[in-house]
Amino acid sequence: MFLLHKLNTNLHRVMAIPAIVLFALFFIYPLTQGIGISLTDSNGVTAPSFVGFQNFIDFFQDDRAKTDVYNTVFFALGSAPLLNILGLMYALLLDRPYRGKGIVRAIVYLPAVISPLIMGYIWYFILQPQRGFLYHVFDLFHLQAMDGNWLGDSSTALKVIILVNVWQFVGMTMIIYLAGLQSIPQEIYEASRIDGAGYYTTLRYITLPLLYPSIQINVVTNIIGSLSVFEVIIALTEGGPGYSTESLSIYILRMLYGSFTGYSTAVALILFVMIIVPVLLFLKLTRKHEIEM
């Protein structure tokens, strides 16, 4: 009885255990296993043998891998800044009392509710050359000349994918910035107005610094999300034409399907480093700008 009571009163000490146990089993354990697999020539069929860093060496000598690194970084460099600038502009525009506020917010967020895969299919349909939705809209206004095979052209395909991604997730970035804007006390704005600060001065010296937590979350999630992109590409181009829109995530999955298990895991670890380095760098560089309220 005493034991039971003791157990009961100490239960709060172990309340974090279920979460970490589940997480360890399905995430941390596979992660550590992955490091081992990446050092082998495992193909999922025959017994794997240790090959040292050969998989990593292979990666850096593979032209397709180089293209994919370029594509992934290009996508991230286009997507993350656009999402943040546009999301911030939306938030600044919509952060005021007006009728239908809740509805407008819900509408702008709504594209993020669709699966990126289905969003990709929808845009595929819109952008099909000669028969897509856009073509027929152009046609309606006798502007057929504006239509183009954007997804089939390797010089434009990736840019279109970036735009589709921004279109889908700008609402999510906006919501985080809106939440940040609403946590800034109104008195600060009033004080700055009394001091005679104009709109841009206020934005530069008050709003943006105080928005730091939102900027941090948005930039970090956008770096992670854009460097691991794959669903929207699968739906729009399947990585083509050629490998011109293939991202590292798609490469990893294709190597996996091709039974290059060891190699695929090595590429996954390289992608992990490619994500964690810019994230930590960003967090370190912006740390001193943090303002305590």
């Binding site: 992660l31 992955g34 919509l94 509408i107 929808i122 994500i275």
Partner: protein
């Protein structure tokens, strides 16, 4: 004048955001024709038959049930496990809880695709391929870091007094959490449900590996299979996508009321 142009902007933004939905709706009500856009008009044909045809041929009904089981199961685990973990981390700061928190924080930056290979052999070992329970545990654990992060930060902003009166009345810290504190977590719970629930409902990257049998297909799998098989039948594909979208949109509209408040306190403070 300024006000008018502001409203124009807001309406423009809303319309731009609605374009994909309009196109999806337009398509889902289109009649099947060989030359798809013969006599194109921006108004759909209102062919509601598409929905029943898609329902049958995409087996979207079963996919919705599968998605429901997996999403609800995983979200329940996420809410209970991560709220109690967040409570322990926020309120009882000892070395173990700190290590747990920082482990989650670091792992939040690791996209799930990275562990696909070893996860596959783990799933095979535990017999989890093509099962609901394993998919529930898997998708839940992938979302845990973010949820724990939100809950911990949110609980840190709540005053300790809210559970202290319950403890004076003889509650243990454990039961005080579930009886009192948990009810104050509505905003952050809404944010967690929206963000993780939508991610799991739309999960494709893991489902495509671990739910390969036809009976276990989730909504994204069913729609994409449909797309690959009947690529030309846009009207049916769109109808299937519309059906699969419905529950997600409804859930979003229910929980979005607290959404901003939850994000504010969960992610931005603390």
């Amino acid at each position: 004048m300024k006000k008018v142009s502001w409203y124009t902007f807001v309406i423009l933004i809303s319309l731009v955001s609605l374009v994909p939905f309009y196109v999806l709706l337009f398509l889902s009500l289109k009649s099947p024709t060989l030359t798809f856009f013969e006599g194109f008009s921006p108004l759909p044909d209102f062919r509601f038959l598409n929905f029943s045809e898609a329902w049958v041929s995409a087996q979207i009904g079963r996919a919705i049930i599968n998605s429901f089981i997996i999403t609800i199961g995983a979200v329940l685990i996420i809410v209970f496990f991560s709220s109690s973990a967040g409570y322990a981390i926020a309120r009882f700061s000892n070395r173990m809880n700190k290590i747990i928190f920082y482990t989650f924080l670091v792992c939040m930056m690791i996209p799930a695709i990275i562990i696909t290979v070893p996860l596959y052999s783990l799933m095979k070992t535990i017999g989890g391929i093509n099962t609901h329970w394993a998919m529930v545990l898997l998708t839940a654990s992938t979302s845990l870091p973010f949820a724990v992060f939100l809950y911990t930060n949110f609980i840190r902003t709540l005053p300790k007094e809210i559970e202290e009166s319950a403890i004076i009345d003889g509650c243990t810290y454990f039961s005080a959490f579930w009886r009192v504190t948990f009810h104050f977590l509505k905003p952050v719970t809404s944010a967690v449900i929206i963000l993780t629930g939508l991610g799991i409902w739309n999960n494709y990257g893991q489902a495509v590996f671990f739910l390969q049998s036809q009976e276990m297909q989730t909504v994204p799998l069913a729609v994409s299979m449909f797309f690959q098989k009947y690529g030309a039948q846009w009207n049916l594909m769109a109808a299937a996508a519309m059906i699969g979208l419905g529950p997600a949109v409804i859930a979003f509209l229910i929980f979005q009321r607290y959404f901003i408040k939850g994000i504010t306190a969960g992610a931005l403070k603390g």
